[in-house]
Symmetry: C2
């Protein structure tokens, strides 16, 4: 019975996610769902991306947290539209939360929307939000074994960003081994190595964001849905 | 309706947690529920504690992970009883999982049981396992703002361990500010600063483990339940 209820919840969520997707399509806004453990650097990567791209793309941000507005305050300083969702205990964002947020954002003034999910390597994986791409961040100090322990998010990701590579010398994270493990689990995911402290690798990452926003050989700007 | 179901689930869980507690009491096993984000150092702290205490206490470990047996393999090398629970998607351990695990562990040969929860700063907080103390680890590279974003676990913890203090010089983690924030949220929680890489602070931590196992001025070895 609990399994049936979970299925119903996920199915209801997917329907709202489709509506979000249609709304984003209508306004030609490309959305990235950014997920990671707490403290892996979601906000830092979003801030670095805004600073790098803001002359070329109009960016907006939805911040998801259990509580607090710390991240939204940081983003606000970049003078881009930002909306904070406090889930009040829920361990992930869902499509209905995003739907309410989208109704309160100036979509006509945006090209690119970052949705920063709640810091959690498990729960966000099951809930589609209507995003175009899923981005997963793993930080060097967390360790390279996370892909074995939390495989779902690594399996679903369109891009995996190894952040805090400036700390690699002080950790046991094996980037090559991690890269092989990722290829074994998810052949489509692009892998990036960045440091939001030194800004190393940020341009490779933002180049990918720009290129995935505009698939060159398709009549629609969207790739087929998985 | 969903709220009612959640309440029923939590109530059923608490009843099983009470049974676990009775079983542990019967065998005079003191249990610590160790929680943190992925990669904050739960297994490393447990390994350091085993190495420090194993001549004085007989330790056992239950490892909780979505998948893989990586952590159990590491613990097994210390030649202590270890049992791996793979939750298969569940974002936290629950009392029923622990109940089945306890039935398969040599409780009569143990004084101290570490239960390593799934790496998650949200979901484990709602599920009692029958433990004596809740231990929360936060690692320096995660950032000192986690207490504001994930307050429940910090509120519930009996001990908070700041791990990876060897990386403090490369992060913006403010230990004093964090300590004040913790006092504001949870006056009972003891704060420890450790590095499982350099082993700094481990003795303070293991001294606390030994002292909390034996509250000196009580007729029962247990403190009142919260």
């Amino acid at each position: 019975m609990n399994i049936k209820i979970l299925k119903d919840i996920l199915s209801a969520n997917d329907q709202i996610a489709e509506r979000n997707r249609a709304l984003l399509d209508k306004h030609k806004v490309f959305a990235l769902n950014v997920m990671s453990s707490p403290g892996a650097g979601k906000t830092s990567l979003i801030l670095d991306t805004i600073r790098t791209l803001k002359k070329r793309k109009r960016v907006g941000v939805i911040e998801g947290d259990i509580s607090s507005t710390i991240d939204a305050e940081k983003v606000k300083k970049e003078r881009v539209p930002v909306l904070q969702i406090n889930t009040g205990g829920e361990c992930h964002l869902d499509a209905a939360m995003i739907n309410r947020a989208l109704e309160n954002m100036p979509l006509e003034e945006m090209d690119l929307l970052f949705i920063e999910n709640v810091g959690n390597l498990v729960c966000p994986g099951e809930f589609k939000l209507g995003e175009d791409r899923k981005v997963l961040i793993v930080s060097a100090p967390e360790g390279d074994d996370k892909i074995y322990k939390y495989p779902l998010l690594f399996h679903l990701a369109d891009a995996v960003v190894v952040n805090k590579i400036d700390l690699l010398p002080y950790t046991t994270f094996d980037v090559d081994g991690f890269s092989k493990a990722l290829k074994g689990l998810n052949q489509k995911a692009r892998l990036f190595r960045v440091s939001c402290t030194t800004h190393e690798g940020i341009e490779d990452w933002t180049d990918w964001v720009l290129s995935t926003m505009r698939p060159p050989k398709q009549t629609s700007r969207r790739q087929p849905r998985p």
